[in-house]
């Protein structure tokens, strides 16, 4: 049972060594009733995590709580001594961090760590604590609640670890639980299960909670009220339905607009012409190659796709589905063990070293993390100059002019040229990253999760830029992402990968009503929608893995989604390779079920989404 939380005119300042103080949280006030969930929403740097930590009376290194009051129940947190605050943390206020993998100690069992809170605060004997932990595991819908505590953190999945961390936080029946982006690092199909589990325990235990996140759609499912933050200041506070349907503040409106990406279409592509890129039955992986020509750790299995000039194809899949490997193979960084890549009608050599300089120029790759993709010891001008020198032999004034043009093209101020990457913001770095690819005048740009590390509003601006460049320069994109909304907004065709198999390819126009591979259907219905109540409508029972009647001996060629598929046909799916069915509207599905069956069995979900 939670307590009332009252925050009044909270102010937190940061101070660089020897520098002036900057206010990072300014005059934030709110009140949370017992059993209520308040969401703090904002972009990076908005102070949401800082507020979350201040609720425990804690400020990160270099920061200081400069003013205001935090009351939890009858306790004035900020007036407590350091020792009293330690007694408060973990017992009355607990914290669930974004990365559970980094928060667990890999060398101790899970149970040891979950009951640690009870031990530190001497709440109950170990046997009772373990009993309570098992009870919590059960409530959080963890598999094998009796024995999961005996495992080590690396033996459970990311989504399970996140729920185990919630169990750890709930051990002491805290007055307040702080969720700090607990599902941001998870795949959508995992996220939905974790959200379900969190919501259930929060409701049943009537926990007072603060939910920190940047994702409005998630907040709409979890929170009773929302506080919108920007640059450490409070922009708007209101109930969830009010913020989502009738936002009063301009900034809230821009956040909501960015969460519903609009379509950024390209021109219609002339079909029939030679495709710019054609990937045929590609097989690739890592590790030594066996006598059948298959790598020890196969990643891509029989993937084919076509991409025309000026077209954008989206490759979507969860972590481990092989999307990045596909980009690396096309870029020549990894040698495929089978299949063929045709570029402009001519076969492309396997590796970078074997390709001509002109072929290298025409295919450019842009990585997700601009932080690691730009050399920190080169200036922006140096970074942009290199492809121009290498491919075009520019020097002197011509080089300087072209660099200036490129900086304009990606809408950065000219003063950036002399700066180092560390002097730019995340969005600016991603623009430089893009400008470097454009410097080569490429025909094809491989975009590997280019907006995933960015805030929604900044990411939307990058997507706009990509769409504009495509229109102006006729560049084709292979757009790799785990985010279906982004891919739908940018791409003409969508290719769905699951565990290295291409399970479906679908044109955007057919997206809403085409037959869906069961995996694609799961993925599409797992993307949180921006309306309260969505989570309740989507059941979680059917998402759990179904036990196989008999595990097939040789899995090669079988559908990789077999273990999780709710529509599988015993005796068929676990014995034979499914056909690639070409359905009307350019849809291709890799499934034993016919198109009509798929629509009939999953149709309701698809139609539902269309209605929304």
């Amino acid at each position: 049972m939670g307590a009332t939380v009252l925050v009044n005119e909270l102010r937190v300042v940061a101070q660089a060594p020897g520098g002036a103080e900057t206010t990072i949280v300014n005059d934030v006030s709110f009140r949370i009733e017992p059993g209520e969930v308040l969401a703090l929403i904002g972009e990076s740097g908005s102070g949401k995590t800082t507020i979350g930590l201040a609720l425990m009376g804690y400020a990160r290194r270099g920061c200081r709580i400069a003013g205001g009051a935090v009351r939890i129940g009858e306790t004035d947190v900020l007036s407590l001594s350091e020792g009293e605050r330690r007694a408060l943390r973990g017992r009355r206020v607990s914290y669930i961090a974004q990365s559970a993998a980094a928060s667990f100690n890999p060398s101790r069992t899970i149970m040891d760590q979950v009951v640690e809170t009870a031990h530190i605060h001497s709440l109950m004997p170990r046997a009772d604590a373990e009993k309570k932990a098992v009870q919590l595991f059960r409530e959080l819908a963890l598999p094998n609640p009796e024995t999961i505590g005996k495992r080590y953190p690396h033996q459970v999945s990311g989504g399970q670890l996140q729920r185990l961390m919630a169990a750890m936080a709930l051990m002491s029946d805290p007055d307040l639980v702080i969720f700090d982006e607990p599902t941001t690092a998870l795949d959508v199909t995992t996220q939905i299960e974790v959200l379900h589990a969190f919501r259930r325990v929060v409701r049943e235990r009537r926990t007072t909670a603060v939910y920190v996140t940047h994702d409005l759609a998630v907040v709409a499912q979890m929170a009773d009220r929302i506080l919108v933050l920007r640059d450490g200041a409070q922009r708007e506070i209101g109930t969830t339905p009010q913020i989502i349907t009738a936002p009063k503040d301009d900034y809230t409106r821009s956040l909501i607009a960015a969460a519903n990406p609009k379509a950024r279409t390209g021109d219609v592509v002339a079909e029939g012409a030679t495709p710019l890129l054609e990937v045929r039955q590609l097989i690739a992986g890592y590790g030594p190659i066996d006598k059948h020509g298959r790598p020890a750790a196969p990643v891509l299995d029989d993937v084919s796709l076509r991409l025309h000039r000026g077209q954008a194809v989206g490759v979507i899949g969860e972590s481990g589905s092989g999307k990045t490997t596909l980009a690396r193979v096309v870029a020549g960084l990894l040698a495929p063990t089978g299949g063929q890549i045709l570029f402009d009608g001519r076969p492309l050599r396997r590796l970078v070293e074997e390709r001509s300089r002109d072929q290298l120029r025409r295919i450019q790759i842009v990585f997700q993390m601009a932080d690691t993709a730009l050399n920190p010891s080169h200036t922006i001008a140096d970074i942009l100059a290199r492809p121009l020198q290498l491919y075009r032999g520019l020097k002197g004034d011509a080089l300087a002019k072209r660099i200036a043009q490129l900086i304009d093209l990606v809408q950065l101020p000219q003063s950036c040229a002399r700066r180092m990457p560390a002097g730019l913001s995340g969005g600016q770095k991603q623009r430089v990253n893009l400008a470097r690819a454009l410097a080569a005048d490429p025909d094809l740009v491989l975009c590997d999760e280019v907006t995933s590390a960015l805030d929604t509003v900044v990411g939307a601006a990058i997507l706009d830029l990509l769409a504009q460049l495509r229109k102006e320069l006729g560049i084709a994109y292979m757009f790799i992402s785990h985010d279906l909304n982004t891919v739908r907004a940018v791409c003409d065709d969508i290719v769905v990968l699951y565990a290295g198999q291409k399970v479906e390819s679908v044109n955007r126009s057919a997206f809403g009503h085409a037959a869906r591979h069961p995996y694609f259907n799961l993925l599409a219905t797992s993307v949180p929608e921006l309306r309260p109540g969505w989570l309740d409508e989507v059941g979680s029972a059917r998402r759990a893995a179904l036990p196989l009647v008999a595990a097939p001996v040789d899995r090669s060629g079988l559908c990789s989604f077999l273990d999780r598929c709710p529509l599988r046909v015993a005796g068929q799916c676990d014995t034979r390779t499914p056909p690639r069915r070409a359905l009307e509207g350019g849809v291709e599905v890799f499934c034993h079920r016919s198109g009509a069956e798929l629509v009939a069995l999953q149709g309701s979900a698809a139609a539902q989404e269309q209605a929304a």
Binding site: A16, R355, Q364, N375, T379, A381, R386, L399, R436
Partner: protein, 289 residues
């Protein structure tokens, strides 16, 4: 090729600020190094007979007007001995360190970028060198070829290359895993460019710090060789051997051992101070970036 030429204003401003960004400690270090270099240059102009001249004041004498830093175990003037030893110390130890680090850097970068069998071959070869005790190796080489200044440099360089290689390789392997290296490879860059332009600037700081440490090791190796009579030949002596020779002064509270010890200490500390203040590694640089 760098774009610095394109931005002359920035280049000039940078050059002007070269010393401005240095902390007081960095400037002090620079001054001390300059001082010892001047002393080293001045050493050949010492009167030829001053070096071996034994004072009538006696052995292990304290500081006096006649002998500012006392006398050594044979009653020779310590100041003269230290000045005369400067070019050997700086010359042999510094040049050897420089060569060792240069080789270590080139091989380490190559191993990291090339990977595969080349990495394996280089690493195993240099591991073999590490496994031979360095003093034994040095002794065998000197015993075989006779002692001379170029040989001493070569010996110290061979002894310290594997350590430097290990450090550079491990730093470079981490950098080699970064996306910007992948981008450079996808762009079709050759190995030398990736080693020199993409990786080297990012490991320069630790590389130079390692060089400073290795300089001290080289001094020590040289001193121990001299102690065994295989290093710099008498009557010349490097600082390390001056310390060795005059250790006998310690139980008697003599100062003769202090002079060369201080000389070594000031030079190595100065080198460390300068390394900490090189562009890109000062505190101000870190903050503005």
């Amino acid at each position: 090729m760098s774009t610095a030429a394109l931005l002359p204003a920035a280049g000039a401003a940078r050059r002007r600020k070269l010393l401005a960004g240095w902390s007081r400690a960095g400037k002090l270090g620079l001054a001390v190094i300059a001082f010892w270099c001047l002393v080293g240059l001045a050493a050949p102009f010492l009167p030829a007979d001053a070096l071996g001249e034994m004072s009538d004041a006696g052995v292990f004498q304290g500081m006096s007007l006649q002998h500012w830093l006392g006398t050594d175990y044979l009653g020779r003037d310590m100041l003269v001995r230290i000045v005369a030893g400067t070019p050997y110390t700086i010359g042999v130890a510094f040049v050897a360190t420089f060569i060792a680090c240069a080789f270590g850097a080139v091989l380490g970068l190559l191993a990291a970028v090339a990977g595969g069998w080349l990495d394996q071959a280089l690493s195993r070869l240099l591991d073999t060198l590490v496994s031979i005790p360095s003093k034994m190796l040095a002794l065998v080489i000197v015993a075989g070829f006779g002692s001379s200044v170029p040989l001493l440099i070569a010996v110290a360089a061979v002894v310290y290359t594997p350590g430097s290689y290990r450090i550079i390789r491990s730093l470079a392997v981490n950098i080699n895993a970064m996306d910007y290296i992948t981008v450079a490879r996808a762009r079709g860059e050759r190995r030398p460019y990736i080693m020199r332009r993409e990786i080297l600037p990012n490991i320069l700081g630790p590389l130079l710090a390692d060089m400073g440490l290795r300089f001290v090791y080289a001094l020590r190796l040289l001193a121990s060789l001299s102690f065994l009579g295989l290093g710099v030949q008498p009557p010349m002596a490097d600082w390390g051997s001056l310390v060795r020779e005059n250790l006998g002064a310690l139980p008697m509270g003599g100062v003769s051992v202090l002079g060369p010890s201080l000389a070594i200490a000031t030079l190595t500390i100065a080198i460390t101070l300068v390394i900490d203040n090189l562009p890109g590694h000062t505190d101000t640089d870190r903050e503005t970036n």
